[in-house]
């Protein structure tokens, strides 16, 4: 414990932004990690080094720089494969982020595999990026979008899943492994085994899971898996779609363009091998390299150590927040079922006002609907405040958050 604690203190030194002051000379307390994380020097330096020493377009040229750039790019693919235990590297596709990953599946798999009256099942606590693409697709196809409901503890009602699966019309079940608002860790094992038994494919939105705990897609057994680099110390503009090869091989391309083709003729074209068939155009090479550095950084610490650190912080924060009079916390208190995300409301004060008042103390939390308006409706709230933690956060920062809430209470005469 001691030494783990000590090493987490060293970690902060790797993040230059944490030395910043904001507003009136207040130390930055960054607690919006579910939205995006800060970047360590190692990641910033990898991007730097790429541009200063190796930058070239990849795959096609024979000269030295192109060879180096291609190698760096493809090495990152291996790192990703290894990080989430993908056996076949060609199943790893680089995209902009989780949103593009899910849209790619909706277009390149969904349009060929969904027909009238088919059903896609999602959940009430999904991020908009795991709802809207399916609304667009089901509308186009005359198919239906259904929702697995949630109990008041923020856990999915798997009876709903059974009910939809029983119709025999479900083509895909899609859910987030960890909710970005409630922190709920979905019971993926049960969901996926039910779907497998019914012969239904599954997509897992891993945006809030991969950065925070060990994820093994082989073990999960899903068919599609999506996550974003910027939420795991990596740069903006890069994310991953993993698709099981047997499915990926049946999919038509999404974007047309350079690199995804084998032979282009005026009126017909053949496709490149996997994964290139799905990586049209010049990719975001520098940020793929940056993501590789982020994965190295996380692996060096160890995902289990990171998860334990977040459990410590989250338990501490849940405990402290519960003691604040008038403060309501959403979701389960069972820490084994919850990631490092805490949504709350403070008396009758709107979350925007909370966030703005504590921002003046240097504390950055998110307020609003968190791209989860369906969940807001379910919770019957307009918005929540949300604090979310990562490897560089400390108990002192949680104390600072609690302190700042006193100011809110004072201003709003709570």
């Amino acid at each position: 414990m001691q030494s783990a604690q000590a090493s987490f203190e060293n970690i902060r030194k790797d993040f230059p932004i944490l030395e910043r002051t904001v507003r009136e000379n207040k130390t930055l307390v960054y607690l919006d990690n579910a939205s995006t994380t800060q970047k360590p020097n190692q990641v910033i330096d990898a991007i730097n080094d790429y541009y200063r020493n190796h930058n070239a377009n990849i795959h096609r040229a024979v000269y030295a720089l192109a060879e180096e750039a291609t190698e760096l790019y493809e090495k990152s693919r291996d790192k990703v494969a290894n990080f989430i235990n993908v056996k076949n590297r060609v199943e790893v596709i680089f995209v902009r982020g989780t949103t593009e990953a899910i849209n790619l599946v909706a277009y390149a798999w969904g349009r060929d595999n969904l027909k009238e009256d088919d059903i896609i099942v999602t959940t009430e606590y999904e991020h908009h990026s795991n709802i809207v693409p399916w609304q667009l697709l089901t509308r186009e196809k005359g198919a239906k979008l259904e929702y697995i409901g949630m109990n008041d503890n923020g856990e999915l009602n798997l009876d709903d899943l059974d009910k939809y699966l029983a119709t025999g019309k479900v083509k895909l079940v899609t859910f987030s492994l960890v909710s970005n608002v409630l922190g709920t860790i979905s019971d993926a094992e049960t969901i996926i085994s039910k779907c497998k038994a019914a012969g239904v494919l599954t997509l897992v939105d891993g945006a809030q899971a991969v950065p925070h705990m060990k994820v093994d897609v082989e073990k999960l057994g899903c068919d599609f898996f999506a996550f974003s680099g910027h939420k795991m110390l990596g740069p903006t503009g890069i994310g991953i779609l993993w698709v099981r090869k047997s499915i990926l091989e049946t999919m038509n391309p999404f974007h047309g363009g350079g690199d995804m083709i084998r032979e282009v003729h005026k009126y017909e074209t053949t496709w490149n091998d996997l994964p290139y068939k799905f990586e049209a155009g010049t990719p975001n090479i520098a940020d793929v390299v940056g993501l590789g550095a982020a994965i190295d950084y996380l692996s060096n610490i160890g995902m289990d150590v990171i998860r334990q650190h977040e459990i410590d912080l989250t338990s501490y924060a849940l405990d402290k927040l519960s003691q604040v009079k008038g403060l309501r916390i959403y979701g389960t208190k069972d820490i084994s079922k919850r990631g490092g995300v805490i949504s709350f409301n403070f008396a009758d004060v709107h979350p925007h006002d909370v966030a703005q008042i504590i921002d003046e103390e240097g504390i950055a939390i998110r307020s609003g609907h968190h791209c989860a308006q369906v969940l807001m409706e379910r919770l019957n709230v307009a918005a929540t405040s949300r604090a979310s933690f990562y490897i560089y956060n400390t108990k002192e920062e949680i104390d600072a958050l609690i302190n700042s809430l006193n100011k809110v209470a004072r201003i709003f005469k709570l």
Partner: protein
């Protein structure tokens, strides 16, 4: 602009006890809009008699700033004729509450109800006048408010 300045008594009061809050069942025009980024959402209902806003109410969900500004705005608009209402500006609303220097994200909270009011007006004028150029101008104006 520090929070001490923003969150003064009047804002807190209006947020808890908004003025002109509610619905008008027999409204002549109603309009709804929301702020896509934060989820604030406002409806405005108006009765219009003799080219005058004879009654106006709002309802919806929003932060203290949104609620206070909606209160102040509806108070300003009530009883005014349509041309006067068209000319209500950002600064009329912000000035009333000392919010002239609000940061960019919060400006959207403060001015959502003004946007809804202008949109309500063009929807009314669109139905009742046929000076479509005028209506287009108003539409543009509402769209470019922030």
């Amino acid at each position: 602009m520090s929070n001490a300045d923003i969150y003064h008594e009047m804002i807190i009061d209006y947020s808890r006890n908004p003025i002109n809050y509610g619905k008008i069942e027999d409204h002549d025009v109603t309009f709804h809009d929301s702020n896509p980024l934060c989820g604030d959402s406002i409806d405005i209902d108006m009765k219009i008699d003799d080219n005058k806003v004879s009654d106006i109410k709002f309802h919806g969900k929003g932060c203290a700033i949104c609620m206070a500004c909606s209160s102040v705005l509806t108070e300003i608009a009530k009883g005014k004729n349509i041309d006067e209402v068209r000319n209500i500006s950002k600064t009329d609303v912000l000035g009333e509450l000392g919010l002239e220097n609000l940061q960019a994200v919060r400006i959207k909270c403060a001015l959502l109800s003004l946007k809804v009011l202008k949109s309500a007006l063009y929807s009314y004028l669109g139905k009742h006048l046929d000076d479509s150029q005028d209506v287009d101008k108003l539409k543009e104006e509402a769209a470019n408010l922030y």
